[in-house]
């Protein structure tokens, strides 16, 4: 499979009244055609900003300070505005978190779905309308032809998110970025939307980046997962590896905070104590250091490098360093125990 998107050392900051918010620091990953990649992390870990940077959709105060994002071999970070516009909505589309506010309240649903086609194709009006209605049908909007002329406020949250999905898929993009598409919805609606996404995925060729702060949602969708914290990638692994042999203390904390249905009631959820770092003045070393029960002196001093755990598995934790002592090291002791 050819690489579709390759992000190298992406670094993004916001320049605010209070100083520089270092939202994304030195992020690198790649994505293949048709692959579904999960991005997980607490609120504020830089998930959205990473992809907004790639698409050039940052707020005015945000600036990409360095790095590359090669899409089909072409760097999007350095690309001109009009070049980027041709790609947005056409080759890469995005589904946003809040369907309530992401649709223009004064424009017809249908017109909003059709808009991408108007921008990126030369199709006639009737054809565009036909395609938009077809797309609305595909995301299971009942009576799509009639609902074409509705306004967003006449739709429920779940329906609006379906519209957002229709909007993002209408140009057959090769990459869809779904930024927490279900977070703002009720649990039952969430399940319906996830089901719809899984169905659509089956008969689409698009690659999907699925952003969420919920590992269990990711588990149902993706093959590979990136765990983000404090604007950095902490761990990257296949979904099985991540659940079976998590290689980062933060991931282990996340896993402990997932409700597991078929366990006895005693195993309470354990949220990770403490709060995420202040991105105005992030810790000099590992961003997780103030909350990590395994932290060592070195973690405070310098950022851990990517350490390879297996061919498809890397972790940014000092405990994986070759210098790290084995005794009292959860990861190395686990390896010893297994051997």
């Amino acid at each position: 499979m050819a690489g579709l998107l390759e992000v190298k050392n992406l670094t993004t900051s916001f320049f605010t009244q209070n100083g520089e918010v270092k939202a994304v620091r030195d992020i690198s990953f790649s994505l293949d055609q048709g692959e579904v990649l999960g991005i997980v992390g607490e609120s504020g870990s830089g998930k959205s900003v990473t992809f907004l940077s790639i698409l050039g959709l940052l707020a005015d105060s945000g600036r990409v300070k360095g790095g590359q994002a090669l899409f089909n071999g072409k760097d999007l970070i350095g690309a001109g505005k009009s070049e980027l516009r041709k790609i947005r909505g056409n080759d890469i589309s995005m589904i946003f978190q809040d369907p309530m506010s992401s649709l223009n309240p004064l424009k017809l649903i249908g017109a909003q779905v059709a808009e991408s086609l108007e921008i990126h194709t030369n199709l006639g009006r009737a054809e565009i309308r036909r395609k938009a209605i077809m797309m609305l049908e595909r995301v299971r909007i009942p009576e799509a032809a009639k609902r074409y002329n509705s306004y967003p406020h006449e739709f429920s949250g779940g329906m609006r998110q379906r519209v957002m999905i229709a909007m993002s898929l209408i140009c057959n993009p090769s990459l869809v970025i779904a930024d927490e598409p279900t977070t703002a919805l009720d649990v039952t609606i969430q399940d319906q939307i996830l089901k719809l996404l899984r169905e659509l995925r089956r008969d689409m060729q698009s690659a999907i980046v699925f952003i969420s702060h919920d590992l269990s949602v990711i588990a149902g969708m993706c093959q590979r997962v990136i765990v983000m914290y404090g604007g950095m990638i902490m761990e990257e692994a296949s979904i099985e590896e991540l659940f079976e042999t998590p290689a980062h203390p933060y991931t282990m904390g996340l896993l402990r905070s997932i409700p597991v249905i078929d366990q006895d009631k005693d195993s309470m959820l354990e949220p990770i104590p403490g709060s995420p770092p202040d991105m105005l003045a992030p810790p000099a070393g590992c961003p997780f250091v103030v909350r990590c029960v395994h932290a060592r002196s070195i973690c405070r001093e310098s950022v851990p490098p990517y350490n390879t755990v297996s061919e498809t598995h890397r972790s940014r934790c000092w405990l994986w360093s070759s210098d790290a002592p084995v005794s009292g090291n959860i990861f190395k002791e686990r390896g010893v125990a297994r051997a």
Binding site: L55, L57, A59, S82, R85, K86, I87, R88, G89, N90, S93, M94, F96, D98, S101, S102, L103, N104, P105, L106, K107, E115, S116, I119, H120, Y151, H153, E154, M164, M167
Partner: protein, 305 residues
Amino acid sequence: MIWYIAKRIASMFATLFVVVLLTFLLMHSIPGGPFTAERRLPESVERALVKKYKLDAPLHVQFFDYVKGLLVFDLGPSFKYEGRSVNEFITEGFPLSSRLGLMSIVFTLFLALPLGSISAIKSGKWQDILIMFLATMGITIPSFVIATGLMYVFSFRLGWFPVFGVSSVKGYILPMIALSGYSLAFITRLMRSSLLEVMGQDYIRTARAKGLSETGIVLKHALRNALIPVVTILGPTLASLLTGSFVIEKIFALPGMGIHFVTSIANRDYTAIMGITIFYATILVAMVFIVDIFYVMIDPRIKLQ
């Protein structure tokens, strides 16, 4: 929609009724006022008044009589000038005032909407800073100061415009600018903040993510949404343009409603004050009503309520 209009009309009449009642009672409470016994008036005026207002009848009868008059647009005789009716004052003054008011609102909108939009789009740049500086001046400098300043510079010093009167179209220009000053500044600021707010909305980001150009975003997604708050204050703006005109008409010596109102005040011509106040109130309430209907038409979210 029909229900909504009916409801609004009903509340419009209720408001007007309250206004009429209030004005009537206020006028009644004036010592030496039109409806109290101890008056010293020319015989003929006195007779006209007594006849008109049935001054010997009890209060509520007088009031309903007055209201009855209002329903057929009869505001009664002047309290000061023999043989003149308040209706006459209005028919004499209102055409000029309304012309000035309409010119001002058109002038205001033609300038304020583009200026506010430019200011928002160029937020933080010199264009924005300049426009906002001017807008702050427009908001803070009272209209009579603007009017006298304009008159001093353009009429006395430069001689470009006539000092008084509206014998030519030129005569309207300075009064129009002076009258518009505040609304112009206010709507410019409102348009700016409204457009800025809209441009920060999630749906604008959605439009960007579709690959729409910045111009396309402003034109197709932002402007209409940003106009909604502007529309809501158009009613009050018309109001301020009409009432603000007292001072402007006085300075430029324009024979409009404002002048009649101010003279009536100076003359203590109570029936005229009362009649003109009610007339103003009616116009304003009607304006607000029209604007409200218009507002419902441009914002689809309201229809369902």
